[in-house]
């Protein structure tokens, strides 16, 4: 790959240095790195507020880290961070800024006063709605109290709110009347069909969450529930008024659909869908954890925004995460990265990161219009750790693929007297310790291989029972998983993605790769609906399949 980098002299230098460190490190096992430096954990870990980032189990040494930081500097990371935290249109392919950070500005922020006011005007409207629902005073068309809220959205309008609501289930707000929040995303209606027959139209409120208010997946689901409501409640316009909330950048489209102006929550073009859970797209989150919880989530992310902007690169957690990821991908040739939370509440975190990282950095054209010279985003995958241990850990330990991992775990759990678990807290705390011990055991075994086993056991151990080790991993410990620390965690990954986009010189804020498919689907729909019969322009395979589907 070295020869691909000829274009940029500085990068070339940094790259050369990294390449030579790589050659040095190639033959050194992680256990040797630890044996050589008893202080390795202290050297290669950073604590910031409620988060500890331990990267000592990566295959790096002092030189590697230094040269990685030099590389970031030659790529002007500092000034790029400045551009991110500005109104510059750094999403150049769509001529938009990328200001998700503005969504977590404190209300009284001095530096971006107008922006903060605009953001908080919408948040305050959302909070008022949430409080009305929690008080049991939001009513459907018949005057009955809303008890079920269904979020209809897809992509960023689904994954973020779903992931966070699930992760913070222990912080569920105790509303005046029982309140359930549901998520519906798939365009084939599978979630809806299962849900609708359990819900009562009279007490159900729908959130139509779509940045563009044109996403066919969402609108088709919305249309189905509208018919469902009208079937039992009649067709009066007050039905839509009392049962639908819209969240979008497009008030005129929401109005055209029938959503009353007072039920429209707005966001802005300068927020990417996958970065939007901090805006009113996060309504299901606020419904789950309450207004105060939502504010904590924002505060955690804001703290990381400050950390990212002002900490020196070598103490800067998102910078280190980005650099280590690039090191693994571009130098150690590790093409996949696994996310392994040891906390069942983070069940959807891997899916969420799949979108965040792969939709952002799954690109191959640089900002200068040229093809990239380095591999970009690796395959991101993962699963709740303890469950994954019974699924794919075999491959991690003894397969032929090199994989890097992020282990994520809360230090304390079941410790805040929450009504959902308080009756069984003692037994559950023991289960948490069990999960933690597994988390540590797995990252040890991955790093050290046989060395992590009892040495007396190794005598005469058959080859198929042996472990290579040397698989790098980070461990992220949260003091506890709460709204604040989760806000931090998500923002860390958001900025990690940005750091890598700077290293690879790509635009992480567009997604042209998902636009075309929607268009082609729109061309095919009339054929499947029987409105169009000429399929001669299509390829042979599609023609063959269509014949079966329309037979």
């Amino acid at each position: 790959m070295l020869d691909q980098l000829k274009s940029d002299q500085n990068s070339n230098n940094a790259y050369k240095k990294l390449n030579s460190v790589k050659e040095q490190l190639k033959s050194i096992h992680l256990r040797q790195l630890f044996a050589a430096d008893p202080e390795r954990f202290n050297q290669y870990s950073v604590q910031f507020e409620q988060v500890v980032f331990d990267y000592s189990k990566h295959r790096v040494n002092h030189d590697a880290v230094q040269h990685l930081i030099e590389w970031a500097e030659t790529q002007n990371l500092r000034s790029w961070i400045g551009s991110l935290f500005s109104t510059q249109t750094i999403n150049y392919t769509e001529q938009r800024a990328a200001m998700h950070w503005a969504l977590r500005l404190p209300k009284e922020d001095q530096q971006h006063e107008d922006l903060a006011a605009e953001v908080h005007a919408q948040l305050d409207r959302m909070y008022a709605l949430v409080e009305q629902i929690h008080a049991g005073q939001r009513r459907g068309a018949t005057g009955e109290v809303i008890q079920d809220v269904v979020n209809i959205g897809v992509g960023g309008s689904d994954l973020g709110p779903l992931m966070v609501s699930h992760a913070l289930s222990d912080f569920k707000y105790q509303s005046a009347k029982p309140l359930n929040v549901h998520f519906v995303s798939t365009m084939d209606g599978s979630q809806l069909s299962e849900l609708l027959h359990q819900l009562r139209p009279e007490t159900t409120l729908f959130i139509i969450s779509s940045k563009s208010f044109g996403t066919i997946d969402t609108l088709s689901n919305a249309q189905t529930v509208r018919l469902w409501l009208e079937k039992s409640l009649g067709q009066h316009p007050s039905i839509v008024k009392h049962h639908f909330i819209g969240v979008s950048t497009k008030p005129e489209k929401m109005t055209a659909w029938g959503i009353a102006p007072e039920n429209q929550l707005l966001l802005w073009d300068w927020v990417g869908g996958r970065y939007s859970l901090w805006s009113c797209i996060g309504l299901p989150i606020a419904l789950s954890i309450g207004v105060d919880g939502f504010k904590q989530l924002l505060a955690g992310a804001y703290a990381v925004d400050q950390h990212f902007q002002y900490k020196p690169l070598e103490q800067n957690i998102p910078v280190l995460m980005g650099l280590l990821g690039a090191w693994n991908t571009n130098f150690l040739d590790i093409q996949t990265h696994a996310i392994l939370p040891y906390d069942g509440r983070l069940k959807y975190f891997a899916s969420y990161l799949q979108q965040l990282e792969m939709e952002s950095n799954g690109k191959s054209i640089q900002r200068n219009g040229e093809k990239v010279q380095l591999d970009t985003c690796p395959i991101i995958w993962g699963e709740v750790g303890p469950n994954a241990q019974h699924a794919f850990y075999q491959l991690l330990h003894q397969g032929t693929q090199a994989v890097s991992c992020d282990f994520i775990a809360p230090v304390k759990r079941y410790n805040s007297q929450q009504y959902t678990y308080v009756d069984n807290a003692d037994a559950l705390i023991e289960q948490h310790h069990l999960a933690l011990s597994n988390c540590l055991a797995q990252s040890r075994l991955l790093a050290f291989g046989n060395d992590a086993l009892d040495q007396t056991e190794l005598q005469g151990l058959p080859a198929y029972k042996q472990y290579e080790g040397n698989q790098p991993s980070s461990t992220i410990l949260l003091q506890e998983l709460n709204p604040y620390s989760l806000g931090m965690l998500i923002a860390l990954y958001e900025h990690k993605v940005f750091v890598q986009s700077v290293l690879w010189n790509i635009n992480p804020f567009d997604q042209w790769g998902v636009e075309k498919g929607k268009e082609i689907a729109n061309q095919l729909l009339p054929i499947l609906n029987g409105e169009q019969t000429d399929i001669s322009g299509l390829d042979g395979s599609t023609q063959g399949l269509i014949k079966i589907l329309t037979a």
């Binding site: 009305q132 008080a135 005073q137 009513r139 068309a141 018949t142 005057g143 009955e144 109290v145 009066h236 007050s238 008024k241 009392h242």
Partner: protein, 418 residues
């Protein structure tokens, strides 16, 4: 006998007055903190009168707890469900006092199952009985003396004699007593409340069906009441039952059922239906105005949970106020006795106007909601009402009015289940 009655409840007042009237020497101790008036005042006129008479005749004395003479034959404890702490403090003091045991100790407070046993643990050397509180607010004295059979929880047969002697002038015949173990009596007391609540919720449930089918629930109610297996009591559909003790009994019974591990949802449903019912008039209004109540003025007649009492505990008025305010409506409220209590809870607010005169409340109102069946609401001056109101809409939460007549006077009428 020398009887000390401890407590501020209606029952404590009734029993003090009645026992004094029969010639017992009664000390009614109803002041437990310095600064509290030495004598509780009841709105019930006949009770008030009787108490006064007994004080004058010298058979009844009132005192505060500090000055209570423990040289008594009988102690009668009647506390509210929320006063359990206070009751225990007092028992503790009595426990440390020096007097000869056993005394007849009557627990007449509803502290749930095993409530009497918890008292007994503190004073184990006395004779404990449990006498359920069957006093109905607004009908206090009669509800006690007219009981056909008095349920008494009493675990020792020899103590029955003492109970009979205490109450002999009121209940002279042996068959007027139904003795049973204390725990059984406690459960009976709760079960009675549960049954009554179930009847009300059942009627309300039927009312919502009747409404959809175009049936007048009032006809149905009369028909059911005519069946002597059913009878007429507690069959009135309306905007829900309330009252501190009654509601507390239902909750206590529900929890007792749940804690026993028996899967039983009937009482939960009875409660839920009732909570729903408290908002019924609001939902009718909401439907009538298509969910747009912003800026509307709504008159409410009645805040007490039932007529003839100033008590607003668990009254439907609270759900109504919260719901109306949440929609930006202004409430003009009248109640002959309960306005002071309302003011204590809600204070001064611009969207609540308390009216001393019932007609003042309907001035410029977009609707009139009747929540409590006070007698004075029974025959309003319709012409005057119509003139005062902004919009002639009457929501009758107690089915007090004749729908046909009221409609003929030019009103829109909405009742419960009709």
């Amino acid at each position: 006998m020398k009887v000390a009655v401890l407590g501020k409840t209606l029952f404590s007042g009734v029993i003090s007055a009645l026992l004094a009237e029969c010639g017992h020497q009664v000390v009614w101790c109803n002041s437990f903190n310095t600064g509290e008036p030495a004598r509780t005042y009841f709105q019930d006129e006949s009770l008030q009168l009787l108490l006064q008479k007994q004080e004058e005749s010298g058979f009844l004395n009132c005192c505060d707890f500090q000055h209570l003479n423990f040289n008594q034959d009988v102690f009668f404890f009647s506390f509210n469900a929320t006063e359990e702490q206070l009751a225990f403090q007092m028992l503790n003091t009595i426990h440390h006092a020096c007097f000869a045991h056993p005394k007849l100790m009557i627990n007449a407070s509803t502290f749930g199952l095993h409530g009497t046993a918890r008292f007994q643990q503190l004073l184990p050397n006395d004779d404990w009985v449990y006498l359920p509180d069957i006093i109905q607010e607004g009908n206090a004295i009669r509800s006690f003396v007219q009981a056909t059979q008095l349920i008494v929880g009493c675990d020792q047969p020899d103590v029955q004699l003492k109970v009979r002697e205490l109450l002999r002038p009121l209940f002279p015949r042996a068959q007027q007593y139904l003795f049973m173990p204390i725990l059984d009596a406690e459960f009976t007391k709760l079960s009675i409340s549960g049954m009554l609540a179930t009847r009300i919720s059942y009627m309300n449930d039927l009312a919502s069906v009747a409404e959809k089918l175009g049936i007048d629930i009032e006809q149905v109610r009369q028909g059911m009441a005519a069946d002597n297996r059913i009878g007429s009591a507690y069959l009135f559909p309306g905007v829900g039952f309330g009252g501190e003790n009654f509601s507390h009994d239902i909750r206590t019974l529900t929890h007792a059922v749940a804690d026993s591990g028996v899967k039983n949802q009937l009482l939960e449903q009875v409660w839920d239906i009732n909570e729903q019912q408290k908002e019924l008039l609001f939902r009718k209004l909401w439907n009538y105005f298509r969910g747009d109540l912003q800026g509307k003025t709504v008159a409410i007649w009645g805040a007490a949970f039932k007529e003839n009492t100033p008590s607003i505990q668990q009254s439907p008025v609270h759900a109504m106020l919260a719901a109306l305010w949440a929609q930006g409506a202004t409430v003009k409220l009248h109640d002959p006795q309960a306005l002071t209590n309302i003011e204590q809870i809600y204070g001064q607010r611009t969207d609540l106007i308390l009216c001393e005169d019932q007609y003042q409340a309907v001035e410029d109102a977009d609707a009139l909601c009747l929540i409590t069946a006070w007698k004075q609401y029974g025959s309003p001056d319709y012409a005057y009402l119509s003139k005062l109101m902004q919009h002639p809409l009457i929501l009758d939460g107690r089915n007090l009015y004749d729908p046909a007549y009221i409609k003929s006077r030019g009103f829109n009428y909405i009742g419960v289940g009709r």
